[in-house]
């Protein structure tokens, strides 16, 4: 009977392709919107995710999310280093500045200041250059979005300069960092340089990145840091989720996207369901004939379920592939502009 079910399904090519198209399009609609929502929420914590070397983030006790921080004092850093179970702890600066390109085009940028000696906090994927070159004076690493903005349609090479708050800085590396929520370019430099680029305030340190000693539980260490210093200590994962939840609870994004996703879900389900329902209704006479011939109700239900499963699987596969192709096509743009000899998979940075 599987053969008959298959023939009934594929016998009318127009109906069969129509069913698959309806399911593929509905899947595309739903997965596309869900993907954008998840991607957007992921972006809110992207800079936390970029830090691969440290697993503990220490911040002011009242910090709610990544983009709004109260600076810590140098004393806080020393106190954290003194907590039992802390292997090492380094400062991290996160601020904003304004950069100007060679053609005078300017844009606000996110400036990340990495510990001068270890450069902990650099994104894990380096597209071009060596991150160690950041130790030189007036040097920065830029992300791909920043490079594309300031040097549109130009080959990706090192040594180009930008004006960063009246400092001429040289690009020594291009990094593949996760896109931030605000869609601004992200620049990386040494902690000491970052402070000089944005102008000195009384306290500058946004976060302290720390690592637990081997065998020390991260959650226990976080509690110990909080108890000892009064500061908030979270793992990167916890801080990432806290940031995502802040955006979910305090912005209209989830509602707007939620409505779109629900509409897509309802429309998709109705379109796909209605199409398959009509297909089954049109075949009712044939199923009736099969029943009269002696095919049991259970086998007829099995045939219908098999047909649904086939078109569902094919349609879903195509829909998901369309979504994946859409995002993949957008993702690959800058990589294709790298000089031919340098087009290779981005290397992972290991300090």
């Amino acid at each position: 009977m599987k053969f008959i079910a298959w023939q009934m399904l594929t016998g009318d090519k127009a109906k069969y392709l129509g069913l698959i198209f309806a399911i593929a399009f509905s899947t595309f609609l739903m997965s596309h919107q869900v993907s954008i929502f998840c991607g957007l929420m992921n972006r809110t914590a992207s800079q936390i995710d970029d830090v691969a070397d440290a697993n503990i983030w220490v911040m002011d006790a009242k910090t709610q999310y990544l983009d709004e921080v109260k600076a810590l004092t140098d004393q806080d850093l020393y106190r954290i280093r003194g907590v039992q179970g802390v292997d090492w702890a380094v400062p991290l600066f996160k601020g904003t500045s304004r950069a100007k390109g060679p053609d005078g085009k300017f844009r606000g940028v996110i400036l990340m200041g990495l510990d001068d000696s270890t450069l902990v906090g650099v994104p894990r994927r380096i597209v071009l250059g060596k991150i160690e070159d950041l130790r030189g004076p007036e040097t920065i690493a830029v992300d791909q979005v920043g490079y594309k903005f300031f040097f549109p349609d130009q080959p990706v090479i090192l040594g180009r300069t930008l004006d960063l708050n009246d400092h001429t800085v040289r690009i020594v590396a291009v990094v593949d960092s996760n896109a931030p929520f605000v869609n601004l370019p992200v620049f990386y430099t040494k902690y000491s340089q970052a402070i000089s680029f944005v102008g000195r305030e009384r306290n500058q340190m946004s976060f302290v990145l720390a690592k637990a000693t081997k065998g020390t539980s991260e959650s226990e260490l976080n509690q110990r840091i909080t108890k000892t210093t009064g500061l908030k200590a979270l793992t990167g994962n916890e801080f990432g989720w806290e940031t995502i939840w802040y955006y979910i609870q305090n912005t209209g994004i989830p509602i707007n996207f939620g409505i779109t996703v629900v509409i897509a879900l309802v429309v998709g389900t109705v379109v796909a369901g209605q199409t398959f329902y009509l297909f089954t209704i049109e075949n009712l006479k044939q199923f009736g004939a099969l029943k009269a011939i002696g095919v049991s109700d259970l086998r007829i239900v099995g045939m219908i379920l098999m047909q649904a499963l086939i078109v569902g699987a094919i349609g879903y596969g195509i829909g998901i592939s369309m979504t994946a192709a859409f995002f993949e096509a957008r993702h690959r743009r800058l990589h294709d502009r790298l000089p031919r000899q340098r087009r290779k998979r981005p290397a992972r940075y290991r300090p």
Partner: protein, 233 residues
Amino acid sequence: MNSQAVVCKNISKNFGSGEDEVKVLRGIDLEVPLGEMTFLVGPSGCGKTTLLSVIAGLLNPSQGDLHVLGTPLHAIKGAKAVEFRRINLGFVFQQFNLLPSLTAAENAAVPLLAANWNRKKAVEKAKTILDDLGIGSRANAYPNQLSGGQQQRVAFARALIHEPKLIVCDEPTSALDEHTGHHVMELLRKIAVRPERAVLVVTHDNRIFNFADRIAHMNDGHVTHIETNGGSH
């Protein structure tokens, strides 16, 4: 061996309930002998197709005893009824009801596929029967490539392929012109009527009445009289 393929005693069939209840069959007594072709005839709405559906086990009688090939069909339900139908009954429908996406041979093979036969063997057997029915050359054609008469012959092949003991036909000539209708009834009589098999035909097409061994006349849910080729009683 019992010489009656079907024995109906006081069969009633109602649809709906209360004020909306419709009594379609009102105490039918009928015997369909083996080795004969029996026609159920009567005006539209008299209950012919309902009686055929009850005899074929597609509908349960509301009341009465129904024995088909010696089995009390009124007492069996569910999977047993389905299996009984699959083994013992062959159907010919008014509009042929061939599956449009299957070839003539595949359509004829459906009862064997329902009995879990190997597809290749089932189709081979179907081709043999289609040969017997004179349309072997069209075995690989789809229903929409066949004439009405050819489609009806495929339907006959489907009804006969598993060698059932009772063949039920619902208005087999209503979609055919007079000449073709006459021809397919000749064919049905030739290939289907056997001493160990009964053929029950529902029709209101009086042009084919001369093919019947026995004609049961129905009106308003009753069998009013039965006519045999030897006379009425």
